[in-house]
Every structure is written in structure tokens, then in C-alpha cells.
């Protein structure tokens, strides 16, 4: 493999990896706080992408604005779902498994609603970037990819700052680690859960816009990336923010590099096999490996 090829693949893998990371973070935060595996996360990604491209059809906006639109609407949608549906089920004291299955139902509902609203045809994202490729050394890289990496990393950094330095963020961390004690400290769990879903939605919606700009937006676009992101999150260790980020990027890189050596038809299998092997060695994911000393 030549140096330029390596760089091009690396950038490509990093870009898709950032997208997976954003989605994975959503999964991780929700599962950390509530134990719920949010099957509808992929549809939140789809909604972000759809709202983004719809916004562009209404007003010609720069890419950053579309990203913000996707993030905001992704967040709002997620909060609406949590407050409207999941919380209702929790109030009825249904077991956790039922809530997880309800997210599957929500996924079906949202996907098909998306199809009704936006049609079955994929919608292309506008050409928002300079058509000239950037040059990194001998390699030529689509500017889109660089933007995705930059914006993706920026969002992740902002998330970390939010969690570490704001009251709400710290409350979320506390609630995730020990909900009973958090409640005793006066933290309103209902509000925190809503925020958690909201942030998951913001991240997912943003990922949707980035993903859409890379390929296209369609009602079924979120499903497979979400499964992969979830696998990535598990790889990194469910419940670990750092694990989700690392897992997503790692997964993206492995997938991209594997595609050239293994036949593209088995590309998806690479991640799955890797996941199973890692889980066998470290049942709690890579994070378990790093924390082994304690």
C-alpha cells in the first residue's frame, strides 16, 4: 500500500469513525443512565439528516447551520420520545426489557413515518464543499472528510466539557453512576433522563447530517450505522464515554482498511468478528482491559 493510499484510507476511516463515535456516544450515555439499549437511535440519526436537508431546501444555509439544525431537531425528537413514550412506560413500572423492546417498536414507527414524510427515494445532500480536494502530503483527500473529522471531534470535545464543567453535566454523571444517591442529593432523575436522551439525540442528529453529507439521506439510513455504532460502543466498553469515542473511531478505521483487503461483501462481518473476539477476551470490552488493574 502506498503512502498516499494509506493517508486517504486513514482519513476516510477516521471520518466514518467520528460519525460512529457520535452515534455510539448516544448509545453509551443512554445505557449508562437508564440501562436501556436505545434501538431507535438510528432513527434519530435519520431524523437529524432529514431535518438538515429539508432545512437546506427551505433556505440555502452553510454546512455548519445544517449541522446545528440536525443536532437541535435530533435532540428535540429524542426528548419528545423519552418524555412521551419511555417515561410513560417507566411510570407503569414495566421491566427494563419491555422498554428496550419498546425502542424497537419506536424504531419501526419512526422509520416508516420517515418514509411517509420524506418518501422512499434517497435525498442527496447539497454540494457544500469546495470540489477541489485538499492535499495532505502526496494524498488527495475530499474536503468533506476533513470537515467531518473536525466537526465531529469538536462536538465530542464540547460534550466532554459539558459533562465535566456544567452543573447539568455533572448531575448526569452522578445520576449515571448512582441514581439512588443522586436523587438523595436533590437531582431530578426525570429531568436528567430527558437531558440524557436529548444529548444522545443531539449527537445522533449531528451524526445524521455528517453521514447524509457523505452519502445521502433516506428513511432507512440510520439502521445499519446504528448497529455498527452500537457494536463499536460495546467494543470500547458499554458505559464508558471514552470507550464509545475510541470504539467508534477504531471501528471506522478497521472497517475502511478491511474493505480493501477482505472482499467488500464481508466488510460488515469484520467488525462483528472483531467484537466477538474482543468480548471473549475482555467480557466488558476494551475498557475492561484498561481498568484491569483496579
Amino acid at each position: 500500500m502506498s503512502g498516499s493510499q494509506f493517508i486517504e484510507l486513514f482519513v476516510g476511516g477516521l471520518a466514518i469513525g467520528c460519525i460512529y463515535s457520535l452515534i455510539a456516544l448516544g448509545f453509551t450515555m443512554i445505557i449508562r443512565a437508564t440501562g436501556v439499549l436505545h434501538f431507535a437511535q438510528g432513527e434519530v440519526v435519520m431524523l437529524g439528516a432529514m431535518f438538515g436537508v429539508t432545512a437546506h431546501h427551505l433556505l440555502p444555509l452553510p454546512f455548519i447551520a445544517l449541522l446545528l439544525v440536525g443536532m437541535v431537531f435530533g435532540g428535540l425528537a429524542a426528548v419528545a420520545i423519552e418524555l412521551g413514550v419511555y417515561r410513560t412506560l417507566r411510570v407503569r413500572r414495566v421491566p427494563l426489557m419491555n422498554i428496550i423492546i419498546a425502542t424497537v417498536g419506536m424504531s419501526i414507527l419512526l422509520q416508516n413515518t420517515g418514509q411517509l414524510v420524506w418518501g422512499s427515494e434517497p435525498i442527496a445532500y447539497p454540494k457544500l464543499f469546495a470540489t477541489d480536494a485538499y492535499s495532505i502530503g502526496p494524498a488527495r483527500v475530499a474536503p468533506q472528510l476533513v470537515w467531518i473529522i473536525v466537526l465531529g471531534v469538536l462536538v465530542m470535545v464540547l460534550l466532554q466539557l459539558f459533562l465535566a464543567f456544567t452543573r447539568t453535566g455533572r448531575a448526569m454523571q452522578a445520576a449515571a453512576q448512582n441514581p439512588e444517591t443522586a436523587q438523595l442529593m436533590g437531582i431530578n432523575l426525570t429531568r436528567i433522563t430527558a437531558y440524557t436522551y436529548g444529548i444522545g439525540g443531539v449527537l445522533g442528529g449531528g451524526a445524521g447530517v455528517l453521514l447524509g453529507s457523505l452519502f445521502y439521506a433516506s428513511f432507512s439510513m440510520g439502521f445499519l450505522p446504528a448497529i455498527k455504532a452500537f457494536v463499536a460502543a460495546t467494543l470500547g466498553g458499554l458505559g464508558s464515554i471514552g470507550g464509545a469515542m475510541a470504539g467508534g473511531i477504531l471501528f471506522g478505521l478497521i472497517e475502511t482498511f478491511a474493505a480493501i483487503s477482505i472482499s467488500t461483501s464481508y466488510k460488515d462481518a469484520v467488525g462483528m468478528i472483531l467484537l466477538i473476539l474482543i468480548l471473549l477476551a475482555w467480557p466488558k470490552g476494551l475498557v475492561g482491559l484498561i481498568r484491569k488493574g483496579r
Binding site: I100, I101, L109, N112, T113, T234, L279
Partner: protein
């Protein structure tokens, strides 16, 4: 797994009545479409029962059952089309090959909760990719055609009704088998593992061995269902066995009621037949289906089976036999919840 609040006599009467209804159904409603779709529901009921053994009685979350459906289906199809072997042999081999394939999952059995679910999901994805890409074996996306009808000795069980009765026979056999397994030493070991692994170990139960056995038994049963599927549809396509199918089987068990054998059957019927009934709603069909799924989840872990039981108790004015009252207590639901606690 909740103890039945019904006296045995009621239960057996109900079962015999239901069985009688199923036997006469194809003669009362001989429309091909009806018989065809109910057969399909029965095939999935077999797969759902297998998952119930794993999930409802051993506490193992498997989101990979479609893999065994597919392995059973393709094995049976290939043996009867390419090798012209009789159906009986293909059927048995289908179950066995699914069981052998499940042995690859033995190392995974020590994973807990969501992690096990993800690993089995990954397995399902990998197997689906094999079906899709190994065209020399499975015909790939072109599919496998001209799969014959089931047969018993010299008689070819051609036609929807014969096929239906075959599926019904296997379903009844599966139900009876699991019904016998549960109160046995084997079944008790599984339930002990689900309720408290450490206490199970301390009582001398080799947890890894029994979890693996549960996987194999479930895979064999699902393999049989796969074989029936192949000979029912007469055509196989890898898209019949995506991981989404694995999720559907999980939905069947969840909707019907985790821990209830009858619930698995009910759930399979609901998930298979509901989208058909909803066809009248045209493009809103799946939206409504999704919404109904969410609504079903409000029924608690006893699902539809529990709901029907509660209704029946009211109608028949029975007082609960055991001390676990018919109303789902928060404790009962709470017992189910911690099993899927956060990672």
C-alpha cells in the same frame, strides 16, 4: 416464568380446545392464503418457543436465532434439492446442523446480559453474510428454488393443508417437549441459573455446561423450524434470515410474555399475523405496527399471555391458587428487571 394460577384441569381443557381449533381450521377456512399464513405463524412459534427456553427460562438474551433458522432452512433445502434426500432425513439433519453450529457460541455463553445479546446479534449478521455471499452453496441473492414439499415415507405432503398439518405436528411436539423439560432436573438447573448463578454453582450446577446445552437445544429446535420454513415457502432467499428476523423472534417472545410457553406461541402469531391484518391501512401499516408494539410493552413482563390469564381469571371468577397474586405486583416485575441491569 410465573407459576400458573390455573388449576391443571382448566389448562388442559384450554389446550385441547385450542388444539382442536387448529386442527379443523384449514377445513373451515380452506382459503390458501389463510392456511399459508397460519402455517408461517406456527413455524415462527416453534422458533419463539426455542428462544423462550433461552430467554425466559435460562435468562440468556439471544438476538441471533435467525442464524439457526437459516442454517436449518438451507441445510434442509440443499439436501432435498441437490442431493435428493428424503424430507425426513433433511429435517433431522437441519436440526442437527443448527445444533452443531451453535457449539461455536459456547465460548460466548459466559457473557452476560446485553453483551451476550450483542455477540449473538453479531453472529446473526455474520451468518447472514455467509448466506448472501456463498452463492455456490446457497444461491446467494438469487435464492434457492424448487424446494419440494415435506414428505413422510412414501407420501408427499403436498398442498397447503398437508403442509399446515406438518407444521402443527412439529409445533405440538415442540410445546410438549419444552413442557416436559421445564419441571425436570435439566429445566430446574436452567431456571436456577437464571435466578441466581452463584447459588446455582454452589448447588453443584455447572453453569457453562448448562448454558451451552440450552443454546444447543434451542438451536436444534430452531433448525427444525428453519427446515419447515424452507419446505413451506419452496424458495429461500438470504433476506429471510437477516438479523432483523432475529429481532422479530425476540419481539414475539417479549410481546407474548417472557417466561410463558403459551406466550411464545401467542407472540409469534401476533407478530406474524398483525402486519397482515394491518394491510388495510396501506402505507400506515408499519407505523401502526410499531405503535402497537410499544403499547404491548405497557403490559409488563407477562405480556399478552399474562393479560389473557388475568382476564380469564376475572371471567371464570377464579381465586389465585398460589400466593403470587394474579395482579402483577411491583415486586414481581422488579424481580424481572434487575436481570437486565446496567453494564
Amino acid at each position: 416464568m410465573f407459576k400458573s394460577e390455573f388449576p391443571a384441569a382448566y389448562l388442559w381443557t384450554a389446550r385441547i380446545v385450542v388444539l382442536a381449533i387448529f386442527i379443523v381450521l384449514p377445513f373451515v377456512y380452506p382459503q390458501k392464503y389463510v392456511v399459508h399464513i397460519v402455517s408461517l405463524a406456527m413455524i415462527f412459534a416453534i422458533a419463539a418457543l426455542a428462544l423462550q427456553l433461552l430467554l425466559g427460562f435460562t435468562g440468556l438474551l439471544s438476538i441471533g436465532q435467525a442464524a439457526f433458522l437459516g442454517i436449518g432452512a438451507y441445510t434442509s433445502a440443499i439436501l432435498t434439492t441437490t442431493y435428493k434426500l428424503p424430507f425426513e432425513i433433511a429435517f433431522i439433519t437441519a436440526g442437527l446442523s443448527a445444533g452443531i453450529a451453535s457449539l461455536t457460541l459456547v465460548p460466548i455463553t459466559r457473557l452476560r446480559g446485553v453483551y451476550l445479546g450483542v455477540a449473538t446479534l453479531g453472529f446473526s449478521i455474520i451468518v447472514h453474510l455467509v448466506f448472501l455471499n456463498e452463492e455456490w452453496l446457497t444461491g446467494g441473492s438469487f435464492g434457492l428454488l424448487n424446494i419440494p414439499s415435506p414428505s413422510l415415507g412414501p407420501w408427499i405432503l403436498k398442498g397447503e393443508t398437508a403442509n399446515y398439518l406438518t407444521c402443527l405436528a412439529v409445533l405440538v411436539a415442540t410445546f410438549v417437549t419444552l413442557h416436559r423439560l421445564l419441571p425436570s432436573r435439566f429445566g430446574r438447573a436452567l431456571q436456577a441459573i437464571m435466578l441466581d448463578e452463584d447459588a446455582a454453582r454452589a448447588s453443584g450446577i455447572n453453569v457453562t455446561y448448562y448454558k451451552s446445552q440450552a443454546f444447543v437445544v434451542a438451536a436444534v429446535i430452531t433448525g427444525f423450524a428453519g427446515s419447515l420454513f424452507a419446505h413451506h415457502a419452496h424458495y429461500l432467499n438470504p433476506n429471510d434470515f437477516t438479523f432483523w428476523k432475529s429481532i422479530e423472534v425476540l419481539l414475539m417472545v417479549a410481546v407474548g410474555g417472557i417466561g410463558s410457553l403459551a406466550g411464545a406461541v401467542v407472540g409469534a402469531f401476533v407478530i406474524t399475523l398483525l402486519p397482515e391484518y394491518l394491510r388495510v391501512l396501506d402505507e400506515y401499516r408499519m407505523v401502526i405496527f410499531g405503535a402497537m408494539l410499544i403499547a404491548f410493552m405497557g403490559l409488563g413482563h407477562r405480556g399478552l399471555a399474562g393479560l389473557s390469564a388475568a382476564v380469564a381469571i376475572r371471567l371464570l371468577r377464579l381465586r389465585p391458587q398460589s400466593d403470587t397474586a394474579s395482579r402483577p405486583t411491583s415486586q414481581a416485575d422488579a424481580v424481572a428487571a434487575p436481570r437486565w441491569s446496567r453494564p
